[in-house]
């Protein structure tokens, strides 16, 4: 698909073909960020499909996805470039007259790879809130001008402006400078209706009845309980698959108890569920 000619309808179709069930807000915001040539900053709780947006876009535009996973202590040598010291030292010792600060001696890291790619790529900067504030500031030049400065080489400008998606779990407040440079999208947990659609799309053999019961149960767990980690969409899918493996076609008390470990990844959360809601009450609520 050609970005210049892209319409909202085409994007919607692309998302649907990639199996990503999206709300109108997600579609319009993604469309605007693509057309404005601005990075898209996606925030929201873990497991709501933030990273998936980048994967879907790489499918839609049939292009490479370059991923930079952020963590505390990430710096430009891991994110942007590093000189190939071994090669440089060997060259010096061989006493050949050659510029050792040229592209041949450059080790490209994800950001530089995205800028120098021959074709427009999707660059995913995942969990930017985990990186340090200094790294965030370092990204400013890249995000607004699609170029970076390498002291020994000068300014490297993007051959093709990459589609940039940044994700954040909101663990740390991002700077105003970064937010200003991006279009902003907040993804929350899906509504019951949307989650049914997601289950049907990912696990079609689940059937309407089971999908509805699972989506409603997960919705109640998320909204009624104060958990350390709320069940994500992927856990809903895993739960559905597990129930199918156990030949369950309905959510019943016993089967809920047997499969609690699939939706609760924290022992404390499991206890909270048993204490404050419990499989019996959940079953009753689903059948009211």
């Amino acid at each position: 698909m050609d970005l210049k000619e892209l319409t909202i309808e085409q994007l919607k179709e692309g998302f649907a073909n990639a199996g990503y069930i999206s709300e109108e807000e997600t579609l319009i915001t993604t469309y605007l960020s693509l057309k404005l040539g601005k990075p898209l900053l996606v925030t929201g709780p873990p497991g709501v499909g933030k990273t998936e947006i980048a994967k879907v876009l790489s499918k839609i535009f049939a292009t490479q996805l370059i991923r930079l996973q952020c963590y505390e202590g990430l710096d430009e040598t891991k994110a942007l470039y590093e000189w190939d010291y071994k090669k440089q030292l060997l060259m010096i010792q061989s006493k050949k007259e050659e510029n050792i600060f040229s592209q041949d001696y450059l080790l490209e890291r994800p950001l530089l790879q995205a800028l120098l790619a021959e074709q427009q790529v999707v660059l995913l900067i995942d969990e930017i809130d985990k990186a340090d504030e200094e790294f965030e500031a370092f990204l400013f030049e890249m995000l607004s001008d699609f170029q970076v400065s390498i002291p020994e080489l000068g300014t490297v400008t993007a051959k093709n402006i990459p589609i940039i998606i940044l994700t954040s779990n909101n663990e740390r407040e991002l700077s105003d400078g970064l937010k200003r440079r991006c279009a902003f999208l907040y993804l929350d947990y899906p509504s019951v209706e949307k989650e049914i659609q997601i289950i049907n799309s990912k696990v079609p053999q689940a059937g309407q009845q089971l999908s509805r019961e699972i989506a409603s149960a997960v919705g109640k767990i998320r909204s009624q309980l104060e958990l350390k980690k709320k069940p994500s969409i992927s856990e809903t899918i895993d739960w559905t698959r597990s129930l199918l493996l156990l030949n369950a076609d309905r959510l019943e008390t016993q089967i809920i108890d047997q499969t609690l470990n699939i939706i609760f990844k924290d022992e404390e959360d499991k206890k909270t569920f048993q204490r404050e809601l419990g499989s019996e009450k959940l079953y009753q609520a689903l059948n009211e």
């Binding site: 605007l32 057309k35 404005l36 000189w83 010096i92 740390r172 200003r180 279009a183 902003f184």
Partner: protein, 479 residues
């Protein structure tokens, strides 16, 4: 306010794309951005220009697309989304809705003015012989409580004050006025408590401070937005912490925990290099010596051991602060469970260290019960001077150039002059003092000593969870 340059860019772009008949859109959008800024959203000029570019890409007659475009470009903070939603609903309402809102606003304004006039009349006392006249100014909160009293109670209060004024014979009249002022405040505080206990005063008070534009129509809109926010269930963030009801406590605690977690992660990231460890970093060393043919002439060292800032929280738990204190202590509890280097103190008549209580693996409720039962100071009077002096005497080792003190108090302390001097001494020994004041900014002017306090600390209004979040986000560890 948008600059002339910005306006010019908009104008050019619009003229290129749309005919002159669309000119009003540009003005409307500028006004809307102005409204958002008044509500506390940080919208930059570049975002304003981006908005226009975005609107060229969508169908303007599609309200959902229009609203989403505005949101994607102008709202970068999910907590501010509710403000955007309300502002959008009122600003882009249909003409009929606008007329209705306008009339309702007018009605509210008239009602308020009528009530204020009545209160002004009720609290103006003159001696029958005309020799003395005195008028008491009530705060907004006091006015609201007075309005909720039965006419019998209102009469009783005013009659008493009138009686004192009439029976005044000789001596210092100013002293008597000051006594009456305290009497009125005390009585209204008593009624506030009573009404709250009887659940007659459970409606939330939105302590929302916004700037007005000076333009009548926009200001009316802003006031309308404020009114709507007051009735919104999602406004917990903007509710005066003092008025948060029991039913909303769990939600408030979730917000506080989230905030504490964010701040904790900030503290753990903000660090200063100490001069301790010295290890060679091979990569950087090779890199800087490539120019010398690989001979190690310049050595590069690894970043030294990181030293986190020392955070000291001092929370006022005197009678006037007890409601706020429970929220702030929850915040302190949340922070201290993650940040080991934090020291927590409470104070009223004197200072008490509670760090150890917070470090024990007890639930917040149990910790609070223990502190409230064991503390001799809980709910007492306020003596910050004594508290600061005790702090300097007993915990001198905590006062370092890397320490940051956060004081949470309404600043209604005895011995303000002496307190100011103790504060100055403390300030000289630490990196920063951040004062979170639970009094609304509009009432600061009445407390003369606040300006002296402000010379030695950075003071911010902190009545609501949104204030707490704002201060922690933008001012804590800001230098």
């Amino acid at each position: 306010m948008l600059s002339d340059k910005e306006l010019a860019v908009w104008q050019t772009m619009l003229n290129q794309r749309w005919s002159r008949s669309y000119e009003y859109i540009e003005h409307n959008l500028i006004k809307f951005i102005q409204v958002l800024r008044c509500l506390g959203l940080r919208v930059s000029s570049s975002e304003a220009v981006d908005l226009l570019k975005a609107l060229l890409l969508i169908d303007l007659s599609d309200k959902v697309a229009f609203k989403t475009a505005l949101q994607a470009v102008l709202v970068k903070d999910i907590e501010k989304k509710i403000l955007f939603e309300k502002a959008f609903a009122i600003f882009f309402a249909t003409p009929e809705e606008k007329d209705k809102n306008f009339l309702e606003g007018l009605q509210r304004k008239e009602e308020r003015e009528k009530q204020n006039q009545q209160i002004e009349k009720d609290f103006t006392f003159q001696r029958e012989d005309g020799s003395e006249k005195v008028q008491f100014d009530l705060t907004e909160m006091q006015k609201q409580i007075y309005n909720r009293l039965s006419s019998h109670e209102q009469e009783k209060l005013c009659d008493f004050v009138d009686q004192v004024v009439q029976t005044h014979r000789e001596g210092n009249f100013t002293k008597k006025v000051s006594f009456l002022k305290n009497f009125i405040t005390g009585t209204l505080n008593y009624w506030e408590k009573q009404l709250r206990q009887n659940s007659q005063y459970d409606n939330a008070q939105v302590a929302f401070e916004m700037d007005l534009t000076g333009e009548e129509k926009l200001d009316e809109m802003l006031q309308n937005i404020e009114e709507q926010l007051k009735t919104s269930e999602q406004m917990l963030l903007y509710e005066d912490m003092k008025t948060i009801g029991e039913k909303d406590l769990p939600k408030a605690m979730v917000i506080i925990k989230r905030l504490a977690k964010k701040i904790a992660s900030r503290i753990s990231r903000r660090y200063k290099q100490s001069k301790k460890s010295k290890k060679i970093e091979i990569r950087r060393t090779i890199r800087s010596n490539i120019g010398y043919g690989g001979t190690m002439l310049e050595l590069k060292y690894k970043a030294r051991k990181m030293e986190k800032p020392k955070v000291i929280l001092i929370c006022d738990v005197s009678g006037s602060m007890s409601r706020y204190a429970s929220f702030v202590l929850q915040f302190m509890y949340g922070l201290s469970s993650v940040v080991r280097e934090m020291e927590s103190f409470i104070f009223a008549d004197d200072l008490q260290r509670v760090t150890e209580e917070f470090r024990k693996q007890r639930s917040f409720e149990d910790t609070m019960i223990f502190i409230m039962q064991s503390s001799p100071y809980w709910g007492g009077g306020t003596n910050l001077q004594k508290a600061l002096n005790s702090f300097a005497e007993k915990y001198q080792q905590l006062l370092t150039s890397n320490s940051r003190i956060i004081i949470m108090s309404d600043a209604k302390t005895s011995n303000p002059q002496e307190t100011a001097s103790s504060l100055e001494k403390t300030r000289k020994k630490v990196k920063d003092i951040l004062w979170l004041n639970t009094l609304p900014k509009s009432e600061w002017i009445a407390l003369e000593h606040l300006s002296i306090f402000q010379k030695n600390c950075r003071m911010f209004s902190c009545q609501t969870l949104a204030h707490l979040e704002e201060v922690m986000k933008y001012h804590f560890l800001s230098f």
